[in-house]
């Protein structure tokens, strides 16, 4: 967890120098901006949900920002991404526009799925983001299939398939581990262990709680990573991506992370204490950690404030856009069922 000194724990191999990733201040600021963007976006989404503008299920990513931002900051342009329903952060980290994501949340025609997918089902072929899947773990074999396509086409791409700690107990994950290892598919399985699957803690759901070890039987290397530390995530991402790109097959990263909000908007989160949440927020917040680092590296408050302001206006513009956009036309009920 975040309080461990050596945040990237190796399994069965000596640590490599690659762990000491020391990005430039410019990169640190980019990471900061992206994490802030996700957080502010999610807060706004929560607010719009509260006002009745967003319906159905809406799963916020607040607290987990360092995972996807760190991972995607190491990805190449041609790499593909697939994840679960807790997907807003992933879309933003893949470069999808806030306004299009927000407009999908409000169910409008300018949303990425033209209002027909909603929070859990959004896609952008342009940004190599392949969803947004509402069935727990269904994205895992799909990610391996995308990796299969990368390998088949020889395009050098790697797939990053994100899944939760709860999803890690689904059968199809192990079917996929087996095939991915057997065929040396370039896929990084990023297990976002936020310690709960809805209201069930990992301890109550998983026999053997080190999810990084779940690929052992298939010979898949796994690392446990402090997912609240964006630099630790980057170091792990680099290693995993290099491994995949060099043709050695899949890799598992278990990101120890935490979600501050309930599972979805309607979850009162009574299965954990307020103290537990507060402690994570106060001691391990990924954004605060990076902010402190930036200040130590010589960034000034005013500069960071500027980033905050910029992000705030992007998000508020996205919300305006999402509310001004029209609902889909009634005729759209019958479109996009089959390709003509």
């Amino acid at each position: 967890m975040a309080d461990k000194k050596n945040s990237v724990r190796k399994r069965g191999r000596p640590p490599k120098s690659v762990i000491n990733d020391k990005p430039s201040r410019e990169i640190l600021e980019q990471l900061y901006e992206q994490m802030i963007l996700i957080r502010r976006f999610e807060e706004k989404a929560g607010q719009l949900y509260g006002m009745g503008h967003i319906g159905g299920f809406c799963h916020l990513y607040i607290g987990q920002e360092a995972v996807v931002v760190g991972m995607q900051s190491m990805a190449d342009e041609g790499d593909s991404v697939v994840t679960s329903y807790r997907d807003h952060g992933h879309m933003l980290a893949c470069g999808m526009e806030s306004r299009g994501v927000m407009a999908e949340l409000t169910g409008r025609k300018d949303g990425y799925s033209r209002g027909k997918g909603g929070s859990m089902h959004m896609f952008s072929r342009e940004k190599n983001f392949y969803g947004g899947h509402g069935i727990v773990a269904a994205q895992v074999p799909i990610g391996a299939g995308l990796a299969f396509a990368h390998k088949y086409k020889g395009d050098g791409g790697v797939n990053m398939a994100y899944l939760g700690d709860g999803a890690a107990n689904q059968g199809q994950v192990y079917e996929t581990f087996n095939m991915a290892a057997l065929w040396k598919l370039p896929v990084v399985f990023v297990i976002e262990n936020n310690q709960y699957g809805m209201g069930t803690s990992v301890a109550r759901a998983a026999a053997g709680q080190d999810l990084a070890d779940r690929g052992k039987a298939y010979g898949i290397l796994g690392l446990q990573v402090d997912g609240m530390d964006v630099l630790a995530v980057r170091a792990a991402a680099r290693e995993a991506l290099e491994h995949c790109r060099s043709g050695k097959g899949p890799f598992i990263l278990e990101m120890k992370t935490y979600r501050y909000r309930g599972h979805s908007m309607s979850d009162p989160a009574k299965y954990r204490t307020r103290d537990e949440v507060d402690a994570m927020r106060k001691q391990h917040d990924p954004i605060e950690q990076l902010r402190d680092l930036l200040l130590r590296e010589g960034a000034d408050e005013a500069g960071l404030k500027q980033i905050d302001q910029k992000v705030k206006s992007v998000v508020s513009e996205a919300a305006d856009f999402a509310l001004a956009s029209q609902e889909p036309d009634a005729e759209d009920l019958y479109t996009d069922i089959l390709i003509a």
């Binding site: 009745g52 089902h121 969803g131 086409k153 919300a319 509310l323």
Partner: protein
């Protein structure tokens, strides 16, 4: 500038709630994420967090208030910065719903029937005798030669040459890059195929039999069939799921089911089930080229049967077009897959009784070519639907309804169905024969539809 804090909706069904407790008071400074109040919803007590930063200027709804409507202002926050929402959005909580979508059978039928198909090319050139098995193999091989993106994946498809030898020879010609043996892992490889299709390949996924596709049905329906719609048209899934469907012989309940109506039920899929070798070849080629997910239902008993297949270097049969395989004027009999043969057998028997039956091979179950069926019913005024599957909610049930909607005035007798019996398939030879629909059942139904008694 003041920001209104409103009663939040904290569940999809909440319309009002009780403001049970305030955790801040006027004058308090709050930061985003601070818990400011507790609210009882229809489901639970929830904490409300501040979204914006500022100072609590006014509390407008007192602690303990019941029935506070979602959207009502509960407090005001004073802050320096901008407000986050345009006034219009704030005012209009219950925005007008979209125009009610047109519903009702007529509209649905229109949507289904609107699928246009081109006519099958007529063929009077040379033909050769081929089994259905060979025709299917040739279809895959031809498409693989033509399109680098096409690959075949499944259990025992490569080195073993196919559990039913349908993929015979493919490994030799196309190598293990494109003909891939999988572990026994239907859910996994169906999902992997879907991902590969999203990644712009053209997978042909073989199920050893469609009974095992039940392991994978989540990926077929939830991922392959629905993603195009949920992505607003971005995520086409050009994939073929193929393999033997329905009863084989003496393999009992878990290995003997027809899944035509299961898959045909779902929008987003095409469902094809050919009878002849020519159609098997032409339709499989069309399925591989189709940009949509296609369920291709074969029949193990048919694999070894031979038919004339056109000697044409690119024989493609359009999906969505039924075929009149025996013209007649007294009664229309529809069937697909193995039941076409039984329907033809029945038609021969009926002709001896002076009943001239028209037999239509549906070939595609979805989109269903109702036009061809309606045209036939206009002529014969009678319809018998044949299928191997269970009667309840089967293809026959659907056909009967389609005729109510589209051909009611032309019918002189109720639509009838000949189906498998409503029981799991028994193992015993005699019981299995009783459970499966036979030519005699079709004959009996036709007589009844024509108001004839036997020999009368």
């Amino acid at each position: 500038m003041a920001v209104d804090i409103k009663m939040p909706a904290l569940s999809p069904t909440m319309t009002e709630g009780r403001l049970s407790r305030w955790l801040v008071k006027t004058g308090d400074e709050v930061k985003s994420g601070d818990v400011i109040a507790e609210i009882e919803t229809d489901k639970a007590t929830m904490e409300v967090e501040a979204v914006d930063e500022g100072v609590v200027g006014e509390i407008t709804v007192a602690e303990g208030s019941e029935g506070v409507a979602v959207g009502a202002v509960i407090a005001r926050l004073l802050e320096g910065g901008e407000t986050d929402l345009p006034a219009s959005a704030e005012q209009n909580l219950d925005r007008p719903a979209a125009e009610p979508a047109p519903t009702g059978a007529a509209v649905v039928v229109e949507a289904v029937a609107a699928t246009r198909v081109v006519a099958e090319p007529d063929w009077d050139g040379p033909t050769k005798q081929q089994t259905v098995r060979e025709a299917l193999r040739d279809a895959m091989a031809e498409e693989m030669r033509k399109d680098e993106r096409v690959f075949v994946m499944g259990e025992e498809v490569a080195e073993y040459q196919g559990a039913y030898k349908v993929t015979q020879g493919l490994l030799d010609e196309f190598s293990n890059k494109r003909v891939i043996d999988t572990p026994i892992t239907e859910h996994g490889f169906a999902g992997l195929g879907v991902g590969a299709a999203f990644g712009e390949l053209r997978p042909v996924i073989e199920f050893m039999t469609f009974n095992f596709s039940m392991q994978a049905i989540d990926q077929i329906i939830n991922s392959a069939a629905k993603t195009l719609y949920m992505s607003g048209g971005q995520m086409g899934c050009p994939i073929v799921f193929r393999g033997p469907n329905g009863a084989a012989s003496r393999v009992a309940a878990q290995h003997s089911q027809c899944y035509a109506s299961w898959y045909a039920h779902c929008p987003g899929l095409k469902v094809v089930s050919p009878w002849s070798a020519a159609d098997a070849k032409g339709l499989l080629k069309a399925a591989i080229r189709d940009p949509n997910p296609v369920i291709f239902l074969e029949n193990e008993v048919m694999y070894g049967q031979s038919f004339d297949v056109p000697e044409h270097k690119d024989w493609v049969v359009p999906i969505g077009k039924a075929k009149v395989v025996r013209p007649g004027s007294d009664v229309t009999i529809t069937a697909f897959s193995i039941m076409v043969g039984k329907a033809l057998e029945a038609a021969e028997q009926l002709s001896a009784e002076d009943i001239d039956a028209e037999v239509i091979d549906l070939r595609t179950i979805r989109p269903l070519d109702t036009e061809t069926i309606v045209e036939s019913v206009k002529k014969t005024s009678r319809l018998i639907s044949c299928e191997e599957g269970f009667p309840f909610a089967g293809i026959g049930s659907e056909l009967a309804m389609q005729m109510m909607e589209q051909a009611f005035d032309y019918l002189d007798a109720p639509v009838m169905r000949v189906t498998g019996k409503d029981v799991p398939m028994p193992y015993a030879a005699n019981l299995e024969k009783l459970a499966l629909p036979q030519a005699d059942d079709v004959v009996a139904a036709a007589r009844q539809a024509c108001y004839r008694t036997q020999g009368g």
